[in-house]
Amino acid sequence: MSDAFLKAEIRPSSDMMERKAQPGPWREAIRSFGRNKTAVVGLCLVLFFALLALVAPLIMPYDYKAQVLTDRLKPPSGDHWFGTDDLGRDIFSRVIYGARISLLVGLLSVAGSIVIGTLLGIIAGFYGKWVDMLISRVFDILLAFPGILLAIAIVAILGPSLQNALYAIAIVNVPTYGRLVRSRVLSLRQEEFITAARALGANDGRILFKHILPNSLTPIIVQGTLGVATAIIEAAGLGFLGLGAQPPDPEWGKMLSDSRQFIQTAPWTVIFPGLCILLTSLGFNLMGDGLRDTFDPKMKGR
């Protein structure tokens, strides 16, 4: 996806950047985002789950790891809103505590990818020559593997745990941001304000971090928001394969995998964690699309 997306993305938003000097572009962006109903739905979903994750320990009716073996596989009721799983644990408590894990993994892994990707992208784009060659080829190699396969391989080497799953997802997504930033830098490098900065005697560091980086932020934000959705799904996938969160942590993908044999006899054990994965990734996707529409004049008004 990245190639087509990059080409469509980069050039127009650089136009937008030049207009940044005009008063209130951010306010206009917010207004434009507000007019986009699906984007607002996405934002609400994200905020809802974020709030859930924050207050999870306060609103959990039960301890998420407390087992009552005699109450296993109970259907949803007043006592257990979402029913219980095969170890007699309250699914509602587990699902809301799971929001904490999934959002944390999603946000942290994307943050990691962005930091590393941006750094490598800037270096590659700004210095060019063999540095660019080397970094770009590393990106190519990483992109040559299907993402989830590479993540599985990384976790297999590091050993299965939530932390290692997070590292794996972060590593897998580095090239996405790296290439995005690199192409931004390549086009920005030619701009007159960079030449001007250089003429004023600014050194490389200053040009990179004071001029080029701020001007590359919007596509990163858009891509990052969409990336959180992917990261959450990848974390759930690794959890499902037993390579992510370890028991008793209530990671949504792990909950799905633990209960898949009950899909016929006790469907609530899989429906609720499944819905949560669906809704959070939908939320981030809608919000990301909305941000793109907002920041991307070429798409605006269509």
Partner: protein, 557 residues
């Protein structure tokens, strides 16, 4: 544009969901249609052709894993021995559904008064599948192959593990010599009396293979087995299926009843059960107790109970801190809710265990009093052992990645134990490496602190539980606890050499007291493994040892 695409996508997604739901309903209603055309279904099976000389049909069995190798002498896993029982016969066999010894390739036997000489009279006129004769020389060939560590028929990478563990390792062989006194008489001379000698001989690893085939195939024999058994080996598609065909010249009149057998590997419990429900297989092993209700509500299916003859246990690695201290082991023994585990995961198909051997085995010591589930007591004992604040440093808890007959889902059971331990302040991290690695790691005892595993009895003798699992000689083998106790070793060796049954019973009862007091294990459950089959399958009698010949099974057309 983009937004409209989004709506289109949503629309198509919901359409797909609706279609999928209809599809499900559709297949349900089409089932009776299929069954109204039995002629069509039957004609595809070669067995239905009367010209084939019988209406045997094909038996398709689904199981959890594939064989490791097809030469029974070099394997120890149940899945490999399952196929061996179809292709080979040992000298003696177990009566269907029991561990009582009965004649097989040996018709009769005499034992000398000192218990050192066994003379076997062999069945005459039996032929191997390659057409060569079964006779005393073949028996001598096989035993020499297993006994002689320099044998040229011990191929690269192979070892005769079961021979070594049942008939003594190289430096302490039980069998002194095996000689053929005439073509149908074999004489075994022993170095010392061995009480379970006949029980041991009947084990599938000691099946007689065709010497001509071993000489011809060499190292390939483990993929091309030739024996005298009810079925002839046809094809092995690794990790998929093994095909066997009826041996028309089988020495047991009228057997086998089916024309061919296909044994398929379907690792996932749910997938295997689905295959049975869809009629893709006729019989399946290791039914998950959670699927029992579904099975019982299906009029086309039947359930088989394998006689309980196993133990699943939580083992402590006694070479690691803090489990080198028996006080800690006993404290944790109080923190395992065995009854809760039985009720939750075995649907009543198991009983809590207190000894390493199952109650159906002679020598079981029922006077042992189990450590009751009592977290307060556990906490107190842990404090007495010097861990008043629990054990915070996380311990590595190995739980099986695969379903086993003695425990369908080890990881779930481990989660229950993890939660109980957490309540007394003991932190454990559950790990489930891949199955072969799992067994390897347990053998070495370097990575794990505690673990879940189990054992199914092979031959109906208590020695077959105690010696391989708990004797100090078996460290590095199946003694995964790395438990070395000299008093226990003394009792076990004495029991091996004693031939008086009453005396042996006493010794094994004593062994259980030692094990209980030292607590290298928390015995968890003795389960009744569940099998399921189509109602068409008749004459199946599951053996307590975990596998049995399929010769008596027939399929009603």
């Amino acid at each position: 544009m983009r937004k409209r695409m989004g709506w289109l996508f949503t629309l198509m997604l919901s359409l797909a969901l609706i279609l999928a739901a209809c599809g499900g309903g559709g297949s349900g209603t089409s089932e009776p249609e299929a069954s109204t055309k039995p002629g069509e279904a039957a004609s595809t099976e070669p067995a239905a052709d009367p010209a084939a000389g019988g209406s045997g049909g094909t038996l398709i069995v689904g199981r959890g894993g594939d064989s490791a190798a097809l030469d029974p002498a070099i394997v120890t896993d149940g899945e490999s021995l399952k196929i061996a029982q179809q292709v080979f016969d040992p000298l003696l066999a177990y009566k269907a559904g029991t561990t009582e010894v009965e004649p097989a390739l040996a018709e009769s036997w005499e034992i000398s008064d000192d218990g050192l000489t066994y003379t076997f009279k062999l069945r005459e006129g039996v032929k191997f599948h390659d057409g060569t004769d079964f006779n005393a020389d073949a028996v001598v060939f096989n035993f020499t192959r297993w006994n002689d560590t320099e044998s040229k028929f011990k191929f690269e990478g192979d070892s005769f593990d079961y021979y070594d563990s049942m008939f003594g390792p190289e430096e302490a062989r039980v069998i002194k010599s095996v000689t053929a006194s005439d073509p149908s008489t074999v004489v075994f001379v022993l170095n010392q009396p061995q009480a379970p000698f006949l029980q041991n001989l009947a084990m599938p690893p000691f099946s007689i293979a065709s010497p001509a085939a071993i000489e011809k195939s060499g190292a390939d024999f483990k993929a091309n087995p030739v024996g005298t058994g009810p079925f002839v080996f046809k094809e092995w598609k690794r990790s998929d299926s093994i095909t066997l065909e009826k041996n028309p010249e089988y020495w047991q009149e009228g057997l086998p009843k089916v024309d061919s057998v296909i044994v398929r590997s379907i690792p996932d419990n749910t997938a295997r059960f689905n295959a049975l429900q869809n009629g893709e297989i006729d019989m399946m092993e290791d039914l998950s107790p959670d699927d029992l209700a579904t099975l019982e509500s299906n009029p086309d299916l039947q359930k088989f109970n394998r006689p309980p003859f196993n133990v699943a246990y939580l083992g402590f690695n006694v070479t690691k801190k803090p489990f080198d201290d028996p006080k800690v082991r006993i404290a944790l023994s109080h923190a395992v809710d065995k009854q809760g585990i039985v009720d939750a995961f075995f649907a009543g198909q198991a009983e809590p265990a207190k000894n390493p051997i199952p109650p159906s085995l002679w020598g079981y010591n029922d006077t042992i009093e189990d450590y009751p589930y009592d977290l307060a007591q556990a906490k107190k004992l842990l404090a007495d052992a010097g861990y008043a604040n629990g054990i915070e440093q996380p311990l590595t808890f190995y739980a099986m990645p695969v379903s086993r007959p003695y425990m369908p889902d080890g990881r779930k059971v481990a989660e229950v134990i993890q939660a109980s331990f957490a309540e007394i302040g003991v932190t454990v991290n559950i790990e489930s490496p891949e199955w072969a690695t799992y067994l390897d790691d347990l053998s070495k005892g370097e990575k794990d602190d505690l673990f879940i595993i189990g054992w199914t009895g092979d031959n109906g003798d208590p020695d077959n539980f105690f010696y391989p699992l708990l004797d100090k000689d078996s460290i590095g083998g199946n003694n995964y606890s790395q438990y070395a106790s000299d008093p226990l070793h003394e009792v076990l060796v004495k029991a091996q050499q004693e031939t008086d049954q009453a005396e042996r019973t006493k010794l094994y009862e004593e062994a259980q007291v030692i094990v209980h007091d030292d607590a290298p294990w928390v015995p968890l459950v003795h389960s009744t493994p569940l099998l399921a089959a189509s109602k068409k399958v008749e004459g199946y009698v599951p053996s307590p040892t975990g596998s049995e010949p399929y010769a008596e099974i027939s399929i009603r057309q």
